[in-house]
């Protein structure tokens, strides 16, 4: 059976919400009652049926609304999508990865037919039927990366590998947790991670870089990252921070359940075959506190994680103004009972 796509917004009236099924499959990121940076990379292999790990690229009930929000972001600010000239081969690699994965995982929604370089792509939810020549930019209405990522949930960066480093040389970033692709384009791995507090000192980036440089084709990996967002806003970009920043002052004990969202990024990494570049996908999942506490283990655990979070990390994630209000609200859902190991609901 195909997915049923919801019609919802991530701005203005914020009608986004999760169905009970979407709550159940939410990638809750905390496997214990406290949080510290770790490399936490694992093989991106198929997970349980129905989970966000079932397929390499997860398409869910928010697909059409996500894509509509991306189109709005790009209409306002085309610099959210950038690619340095030497990244064109990697862009085509990305077209292949996403079209192949989406059509194999969701054949009722997406179809890809390939005859040599003559490709035929059908995206039924978005009403797209496109014949094109693989490798020929002139046969698509956008550059290859932009074309396919306007049809795929999640931000995507293409990392070039040279001189023993990874370089952020292309990307489409419209649902970011406060980092600017426009500023970071062309940076090395450690340079674009420069603002992250504490993690450099504990060697996280040294280990992660070493691991990624040795990634092989056909062996993708994944990790989770998280932050918090006020209102279900996907575009929490620094570019627009002067517009959405004041949301952070609107949290009161009465509206925590509806306004405060846990935002989890499922980050996937694939080695690409032609360019030897790496795809870095950042797929954001949002869940409001009211929805989160319907899973008792998650309510208890998030309360404990936020209480013990080092201040430097809490500040970097922008939670300073509403962290305590949220902890106080979550306290009602923490009876002190022990929580079971692992992330999944009991």
């Amino acid at each position: 059976m195909g997915l049923v796509f919801k019609n919802e917004t991530f701005r203005d009236d914020f009608t986004f919400s999760n169905s009970p099924a979407a709550i159940k499959r939410f990638p809750f990121p905390f496997h214990e009652d406290r949080y510290m940076y770790t490399v936490n990379i694992e093989p991106h292999i198929a997970g349980p049926k129905g989970s966000v790990y079932e397929f390499p690229i997860d398409i869910d009930e928010h697909y059409l609304s996500d894509m509509r929000d991306r189109a709005l972001v790009l209409k306002e600010d085309p610099l959210r999508c950038q690619s340095l000239p030497h990244m064109l081969t990697a862009e085509w690699d990305l077209v292949e990865l996403l079209m192949t994965s989406m059509s194999e995982s969701y054949p009722e929604h997406f179809t890809l037919t390939r005859e040599g370089d003559n490709w035929h792509w059908i995206n039924r939810p978005m009403g797209i039927d496109q014949k094109f020549t693989f490798g020929d930019v002139a046969t698509l209405p956008y550059r290859p990366m932009e074309y396919i990522t306007r049809q795929c949930q999640g931000d995507f960066c293409l990392l070039d590998q040279r001189d023993g480093d990874l370089w952020m040389d292309a990307g489409i970033v419209s649902t970011q947790a406060d980092w600017s692709l426009d500023f970071d384009v062309g940076m090395s791995f450690k340079e674009w991670h420069a603002p992250v507090p504490m993690a450099h000192e504990v060697g996280v980036f040294d280990r992660a870089l070493k691991f990624l440089l040795n990634m092989q084709q056909g062996k993708p990996v994944r990790r989770l990252n998280w932050t918090m967002t006020i209102n279900p806003r996907l575009d929490t970009s620094p570019e627009n921070y002067h517009k959405w920043g004041k949301d952070r002052t609107t949290v009161t004990p009465e509206n925590v359940g509806n306004k405060v969202h846990l935002r989890v990024e499922l980050q996937g990494l694939w080695r690409l075959p032609r360019s030897n570049a790496i795809v870095f996908s950042i797929r954001a999942y949002l869940i409001k506190m009211d929805e989160l506490v319907t899973v008792p283990k998650w309510g208890r655990r998030l309360h404990r994680v936020l209480k013990t979070l080092p201040d430097a990390i809490a500040d970097y994630k922008g939670t300073t103004r509403y962290r305590q209000t949220t902890i106080d609200w979550l306290a009602k859902y923490d009876d002190g009972a022990p929580t079971s190991k692992g992330c999944w609901p009991d």
Binding site: L79, S180, D182, F183, D184, V185, G186, M187, K190, E191, W192, H193, A194, P195, H200, P238, E239, N240, Y241, H242, K243, W244, G245, K246, R248, T249, R321
Partner: protein, 201 residues
């Protein structure tokens, strides 16, 4: 000394002579001239006979550096009124530069950043540049909101010269843009910006 805790900021290790270079090309601003003269004390005279210097006196105007450099008998010494005019000439020189040319840049950080951008555009790897910071710690800042560049920033926060927002100057540097990132400091409560302090004198 500039703070070294900023991971995305380039390191400026100081001028050293590449004695194998066939042509030594210098972009020099302000107190950077003193760095060139210090280098001259440590190098054989032939080094400067293979040197072309593009020099903007800027904050060190009137200090007589020009004469002292001339005394080293460089192949050429060109003096320019502003960093922008240095960059225009640098671009032209780099277009016809031959193998064996070594680029040295010294002066304030914004000046080094601009020269580095020219070098990158000419296909020179940033790691092959020889750089030394001298003079003011002022920063060039890009507003992340309107994308405008504000020059000669010595305070934090600082006002964007284009859109007027109060910007927190973050310790995050883009080599491609030659600038630090400025992010609205009072976005959450407009008007609640701390008073600017002279942090980058």
């Amino acid at each position: 000394m500039l703070s070294t805790g900023i991971i995305s900021r380039p390191v400026y290790p100081g001028l050293t002579a590449d004695l194998k270079a066939r042509h030594n090309l210098f972009a020099v601003e302000g107190e950077g001239a003193a760095a060139v003269l210090d280098l001259a004390k440590k190098t054989p005279p032939e080094f400067f006979t293979k040197a072309t210097l593009l020099y903007c006196p800027a904050a060190s105007a009137g200090k007589d550096y020009e004469k002292q450099i001339e005394a080293r008998q460089p192949k050429a010494l060109w003096t320019f009124p502003t960093p922008a005019t240095v960059m225009f000439r640098l671009k032209g020189v780099l277009q016809t530069a031959t193998m064996g040319t070594r680029l040295y840049v010294t002066g304030t950080e914004p000046f080094i950043g601009l020269a580095l951008k020219e070098a990158l555009e000419a296909g020179i790897d940033h790691k092959s540049l020889i750089t030394e910071h001298r003079g003011s710690a002022k920063r060039r800042v890009q507003c992340v909101h309107c994308k405008g560049f504000t020059e000669n920033v010595t305070t934090n926060p600082a006002k964007c010269g284009h859109c007027g927002l109060n910007l927190l100057v973050r310790d995050h540097y883009s080599r491609r843009l030659g600038a630090f990132q400025g992010v609205c400091i009072d976005a959450e409560v407009p008007g609640e910006a701390p008073a600017p302090e002279e942090i980058f004198p």
